[in-house]
């Protein structure tokens, strides 16, 4: 006589079905999780990219806003441009005479496969100090190649990732920031702004 213990254990069919359902749910959860994390990484990447472009441009703008247009050097008028500018900032007035800061400069400097934006105070002097504002500035502006023509229609020829051109007291600042995305593909963002030298 065999005693059958009903309720304990599962049939093979039940197990197979359960496993199949578990697999389906796991795959879906994994897909959702992966999609979510990819979206997070992508969103974070874009936010970082845009933040860096905005922050770098703001720093350049604020520096030139407080400068004296007559002290800007060199002067480049469209379609020419310059990727470095020297200037002095007003510190106030003393005994009726304007007081200026030590000389400062903002320049694009070449790295291995891209460039960086370097701010310097007292450039070339023993007391020089500098800050890197961005390490992701390409050699050429987005859409531009070295061919002697204005490829991207911004009235500048063969401009670099950082370019300045002047119109009197106005300075046009052109900036491209390019970073590799999570897939390793370089993604550029561009910014352009016109600032007035207040002094």
């Amino acid at each position: 006589m065999r005693v059958r213990h009903a309720g304990s254990g599962f049939t093979l069919l039940e197990l197979v079905i359960a496993l199949a359902i578990l697999a389906l749910v796991s795959v879906n959860v994994t897909l959702v999780t992966r999609t979510g994390s990819q979206a997070v990484r992508s969103g974070a990447f874009w936010q970082t990219l845009n933040d860096e472009a905005d922050q770098t441009l703001d720093r350049i703008s604020l520096a030139l806003m407080a400068s004296d247009a007559s002290n800007l050097y060199p002067i480049a008028i469209s379609p020419l441009y310059t990727n470095a500018v020297s200037y002095k900032v007003s510190l106030g007035v003393e005994d009726g005479q304007p007081v200026e800061s030590p000389p400062e400069s903002i320049s694009w400097e070449e790295l291995e496969d891209r460039g960086r934006i370097q701010w310097r105070e007292n450039p070339g002097l023993p007391e020089e100090r500098g800050v890197t504002w961005s390490n992701w500035v390409p050699s050429f502006f987005d859409g531009e190649t070295f061919n002697g023509s204005d490829d991207n229609g911004n009235a500048l020829v063969d401009e670099s990732g950082l370019a300045f051109d002047m119109e009197g007291d106005l300075v046009n600042i052109h900036l491209t920031i390019e970073r590799p995305n999570p897939d390793g593909q370089p993604v550029p963002v561009t910014r352009k702004i016109q600032v007035t030298c207040r002094n």
Binding site: M1, V3, R4, A6, G7, V25, V29, V32, T33, G36, A39, V40, G43, A44, Q47, D51, D54, Q55, D58, L62, A66, S70, V89, S90, L91, G92, V93, D95, G96, P98, V99, R198, N199
Partner: protein, 540 residues
């Protein structure tokens, strides 16, 4: 459930409700909820950073708007102080206040703090309060300036008293010993005594500032007490629009007193031995002014503006005398002398409109009077020589200026901030970012409008936020009667105002009045009244 066993046993099977599906489900839900929360948090931080960046820019714009309001206040003769950290002024969804103080050089230091959302921005500027675009050149020339041997040049401030009240008695001759300002876009030549043994020297008690690439050449025996550094900019001739007077009175030989008003002549002659007095307030335009006798200018009741367009002759032996002693009361403006066929013309400012050098100088311009001159001479087209017999208090600006040997000129520094010949607008000297001050509003990250609402305060409209709201205004009404109004200027009936003489602002806290000023205004065509710019209700 009952299972029937083949042997007849009946076994009752316990139905179990245990299982892990619910737990698994709950864990799964928790995971998904955590994932969702993470995404929401990420998005929130992204949004917060973006709004902070936007608020920072907004606060910068609010600061600049506050500075613009302060500059407007200064152009009206106020201090530029607006609102306060406790109750700021509102503009564009943000708030701001401006602190104003005066430095030792008379400049206004304005510190404007703007707040918008979470953004905080402070800008500090230094402003020269009122800069007359013509008189700021002092004793100036656009092309060349020469000073003859034995000349004495100094300066004083007529708003502080007479020239005699400001003398430096340590000198053997009457002089203030300071305050001169020579400017030129080109070179400045200062001649010394003709021989080393001569006991006369040339004195310039002040600065001689040549052009960007110019130099100051001084002979031995020249005493220059101030700076001779080249300037970093060139002076530009300021355009002046001629008063519109439709009818001309033709050619006249005048003597006696020319009554106040607005007049135009083709030519005015003053014969030898006769006297013509110009009595202000007077605007007089003439193509030709030929004086062989005596020309008096009386600006005691109102300023006199004399425009000579084609020919000016004050021959040797003629006299030019001002009866008032405030240079702000007389302006002599010379047009493009010698230019045939010009009718109404603008005393234009661009160098391109200047005639070639030496064009009919002797025929169109002879300026050799003797006397005492209190006023401003503006001759952007002319080569002007100031004779030694004319004692000048005020300012003189010409294309080329020659001060004769032994000439005596005293620059009135009060003219540099007057409205004679042009609106004395504030001039920006320095602009820079600064650290926001430590106040409850700047410390808190909360939107300042929300903070103020919680405290029960409402920010002020910009027009009502100036520190000075009440004023004492002296003016001449349309009947020619001089009147005084005290109170809020928006309550004055401006239709009855013909000309403003001066305004004194009540500085509020201490109840004191500012020094009298003539605010920047607009001189409308056909009306020589200054139309006072009453602050309007601004957006905010």
């Amino acid at each position: 459930m009952e299972a029937r066993m083949s042997m007849g046993f009946r076994v009752r099977l316990q139905r179990t409700n245990g299982g892990g599906a619910l737990v698994a489900g709950l864990v799964l839900m928790a995971l998904l909820a955590a994932l969702g929360a993470g995404l929401v948090r990420l998005q929130t931080s992204i949004q917060r950073r973006r709004s902070q960046s936007i608020d920072a820019k907004r606060s910068l714009y609010v600061s600049e708007a506050g500075l613009a309001e302060a500059l407007f206040a200064i152009s009206l003769g106020k201090s530029g102080a607006i609102a306060s950290p406790e109750i700021p002024a509102s503009w564009g969804g943000g708030v701001y206040w401006v602190e104003s103080k005066q430095d030792s050089a008379g400049n206004r230091v304005l510190v404007c703090t703007g707040l918008a959302g979470r953004g905080r921005s402070t800008i500090t500027t230094v402003v020269q309060p009122r800069t007359n675009p013509i008189a700021t050149a002092g004793i100036g020339a656009f092309e060349a300036l020469s000073v003859g041997a034995g000349a004495v040049l100094d300066g004083y401030d007529s708003s502080l008293g007479s020239f005699e009240d400001q003398l430096d008695t340590s000198y053997a001759f009457p002089t203030t010993g300071q305050g001169a300002l020579l400017t030129c876009n080109g070179d400045i030549d200062i001649e010394g005594p003709p021989t080393p043994s001569a006991d006369v020297s040339t004195f310039v008690f002040g600065d001689a500032r040549p052009g960007v690439s110019g130099v100051v050449r001084t002979d031995p025996g020249v005493v220059l007490t101030g700076s001779s550094a080249a300037r970093d900019h060139e002076s530009r001739a300021t355009p002046i629009a001629l008063p519109v007077i439709d009818t001309t009175r033709g050619t006249a030989t005048l003597s006696g007193t020319l009554a106040p008003g607005r007049m135009r002549y083709d030519a005015i002659h003053v014969r030898s031995g006769e006297t013509l007095r110009l009595k202000g307030p007077l605007t007089l335009v003439t193509d030709t002014l030929d004086v062989s006798g005596r020309l008096e200018v009386d600006g005691s009741q109102g300023k006199v503006e004399l425009f000579v367009l084609q020919t000016l002759r004050l021959e040797a032996g003629s006299e030019l005398e001002t009866l008032h002693r405030r240079p702000q009361r007389f302006g002599l403006f010379l047009g493009n002398l010698g230019q045939v066929g010009s009718d109404y013309q603008t005393l234009a400012g661009s160098s391109a409109s200047l005639p070639p050098a030496g064009r009919k100088p002797d025929e169109a311009l002879r300026f050799q009077p003797r006397g005492t001159f209190y006023g401003l001479i503006y001759a952007p087209f002319s080569d002007l020589s100031l004779p030694a017999d004319l004692r000048l208090f005020g300012a003189v600006v010409a294309r080329r200026l020659t001060l004769a040997p032994q000439a005596r000129v005293s620059l009135d520094r009060d003219l540099l901030s007057s409205n004679m010949g042009g609106s004395a607008l504030p001039r920006l000297q320095s602009w820079r970012f600064d650290t926001p001050p430590d106040t409850p509003l700047t410390r808190s990250p909360i939107d300042p409008l929300i903070m103020l609402r919680r405290a029960g305060h409402e920010p002020l409209a910009s027009s009502q936020a100036h520190q000075e709201q009440l004023a004492t205004i002296n003016y001449r009404d349309t009947d020619g009667t001089h009147r005084t109004f005290v109170g809020d200027l928006s309550e004055l009936d401006w239709d009855e105002v013909d000309a403003v003489d001066s305004v004194q602002w009540n500085s509020g806290g201490d109840g004191g009045l500012s020094a009298p000023v003539l605010p920047v205004g607009r001189q409308g065509p056909g009306n020589d009244a200054f139309i006072f710019l009453v602050p309007e209700e601004s957006h905010g």
